[in-house]
Point group: C2
Chain length 426, copies 2
């Protein structure tokens, strides 16, 4: 299919905003210039609108849409033990499918085009995402807690998901290994995952240094920080994406930089759970690739990457009292280009030859006028509801606010039913 | 006019969510119950929607919409001196009118029903707000810098605005005295304002303790904190609304509580400018009435009170590392009831007899489903774009997303022209 987007303000390479048409052929951006004259199956008029790279949500748990607003304003352990885990234990594969569909719908509406997910019943997530049309990196969250039998089961489940996804043979759905965290996975588990990732040519994502409690625990057990521990066993390479990275010391940061590890910042979740504040400035100064993620809906409570950008930009200014930290351009790159870099994806930038993963945002709204500074408006004033059109892999998932791949009403109703059932049972 | 809102989920007294109809007669809420059978001029079906008190933005500078995205990520002084002040100096009354109209449009769209504003050319702001239909408390920002001649001029301008607003004879537009801050106003100015407020029966709003620099300066000059200084001259009473209140010590907080002063929290602005973090928990523990505000668009960069609630809820959890701080209900009250309290307004709560200042929010959206926790969703997941209908003083300003009192396109175009002109000149 060919798509021609006319007269938009295009966020081009290096975040330069140019007035141009964008021509998409198949799953690629073929041409970007003024007055393109080519034939196309669909012509979209983007006058007064901004054509932006789609957002890459580098850390989330899609099906947790089901727990949105279930429990807020309580400490992490109580939240997990009293509210989340008992309900997760009840989740059937079909429930995860429905939760994932709701999450996918939310992402399409908010302009996310690709994401990294860690959860369970991931075959169901893969099915939901395949249907929705998003690009995804899906991993089964492995937890062995040092139990060798459990480890074998977890590896089997992971390989099961890998095989399922390979068999889907989708251009968009990818497998990623997802050991949960250094405090829930044994050294043996982490080493096995590293080996399997090499063997299968897959990437790895893992929660690291999210809470002080975690770091203190690892230090007590191993006498070193989680990052040092991971490095010592040869785990850290440039195919590893760590989520959170809140409690990192200088040595950790140096190691992450040296190994080319990507780190995902989740400001809303870290703030909401009182986890702490990532040393963003130090990470960026050392050249670490920092991406952006929303974490799951239960601890955010949405998947809105535009809102997440503002949170990132504001949090670090408040934390350091330096208004120059986490400037709009830096944060915009975290939500787009850096995510693509982490995933080795030719996306995150609207450029000839790149994947056609992009969104159109309506700037004809009072909170986006005067429209003098596109990047600033996207970071500081826009939100997910401003996204009008979402294109992934050259396919239009939402056009002028209407989602084409999913029946919105039905997806919402089905997820509501699952949540109602869990609520009664919980 | 009578309005009947059918089948909504109504946020009633004490934030109890009830399924009910709401009947509005004139500018008041007359009845709230299931199955109201009365005749009405307009019947609104709110099935699947939430009827919420309108938001009260207790501190902003409306016409600064013109400077949205003009300059971000730079220190406060440079921001003011290089970007804002030179442009403000060029602003003609008509420019302020157009900027204020854009701000009013933004507020209506985002569900704000009342606000407190401090700026200049306030007659123009009054005209814009009168036309838009919002409820407002408008004050001329007085700055005398210790110059007695300037002081007389500032008082004359203030009284001019007061007279202008009295002559408007509007139910919605109110005058408020607005000396800029203790560091820009002389003691004499502050005393005169206090006397004039008593004489005319008007309230006062003032910036206090926004930055450490300000507090240090006042301490050097007067040997006491800004709050102590204001208290010593008898300035602080329960008709005073101070904006920011970032750098407050225990004694300040006690004084504010004793005098019944209201304090406006502006999380986005304080974060963006790196001003510091308000001691919210301590203020609330002492029983101080804390409201919520967006500050001006130049330092936010929007007027979205739903977004502001999330920022408030998250900021204090991140700052204290306590996830129980600034819970959703507390923050929701800051944005509604507490603002009304500060303004001695029978609003901020949907209750029989109260002013009909309310909004209808569409919950039939993926990021607001499953719809199990209304207050949580409003604070943590919704944004201004989710507001569908805005009613102020019994008048419908926006119905199903369409603003009835202003021509949206024209308002945006006119403000754009002003901004373009300033940009060329600046």
């Amino acid at each position: 299919m060919e798509i021609l987007i006319k007269n938009g303000r295009v966020i081009y390479d290096n975040l330069k905003v140019v007035e141009a048409d964008v021509y998409i052929e198949g799953n690629r951006i073929l041409e970007i210039k003024k007055g393109i004259k080519r034939e196309a199956d669909i012509v979209i008029d983007a006058k007064g609108k901004v054509v932006s790279p789609g957002f890459i949500n580098a850390h989330t748990h899609l099906a947790m849409t089901l727990f949105r607003g279930l429990a807020d304003d309580i400490p992490l352990q109580e939240w997990l033990e009293t509210y989340i885990w008992p309900r997760e234990a009840q989740l059937k594969p079909r429930d995860v499918y429905k939760g994932a569909l709701l999450g996918a719908l939310e992402m399409i509406k908010g302009g996310t085009t690709a994401f990294v997910d860690m959860y369970f019943h991931m075959e169901e997530v893969a099915k939901a995402v395949e249907r929705a049309g998003l690009r995804a990196y899906l991993g089964y969250g492995m937890i062995d807690l040092g139990d060798p039998e459990k480890l074998e089961k977890e590896i089997k489940k992971s390989i099961g998901v890998l095989t399922f996804i390979e068999n889907l043979n989708s251009e968009r759905i990818n497998f990623i290994f997802a050991p949960h965290a250094p405090y829930t996975c044994s050294i043996e588990c982490l080493k096995r995952v590293r080996g399997l990732a090499d063997e299968h040519g897959k990437m790895i994502t893992i929660h690291v240094a999210e809470t002080k409690r975690e770091v203190d625990g690892i230090k007590r057990e191993y006498g070193k920080s989680p990052v040092e521990l991971l490095d010592e066993i040869g785990f850290l390479r440039d195919d590893v994406i760590i989520a959170h990275g809140v409690w990192l010391n200088d040595k950790d940061i140096m190691l992450l930089a040296e190994r080319g590890v990507s780190v995902v910042h989740n400001p809303a979740s870290n703030m909401k759970l009182g986890s702490g504040v990532m040393p963003l400035k130090e990470l960026l100064n050392r050249g670490v690739n920092v991406c952006l993620g929303t974490d799951g809906d239960a601890s955010n409570n949405n998947l809105d990457m535009l809102e997440e950008m503002k949170l990132a930009a504001l949090l670090h200014k408040a934390h350091t009292l330096e208004p120059t930290v986490a400037d709009a351009r830096t944060v915009f790159k975290m939500a787009t280009l850096n995510g693509a870099k982490a995933l080795k994806l030719n996306a995150g930038v609207i450029r000839e030859g790149n994947l056609a993963d992009l969104v159109i945002i309506d700037f004809n709204k009072p909170h986006l006028r005067p429209a003098n500074n596109v990047i600033s408006h996207l970071v500081y004033s826009a939100n997910g509801n401003d996204v009008e059109t979402t294109i992934v892999n050259g396919e239009i998932l939402m056009l002028d606010g209407e989602v084409l791949t999913l029946e919105e009403e039905k997806v919402m109703e089905e997820a509501q039913k699952v949540a109602d059932k869990l609520h009664e049972g919980g």
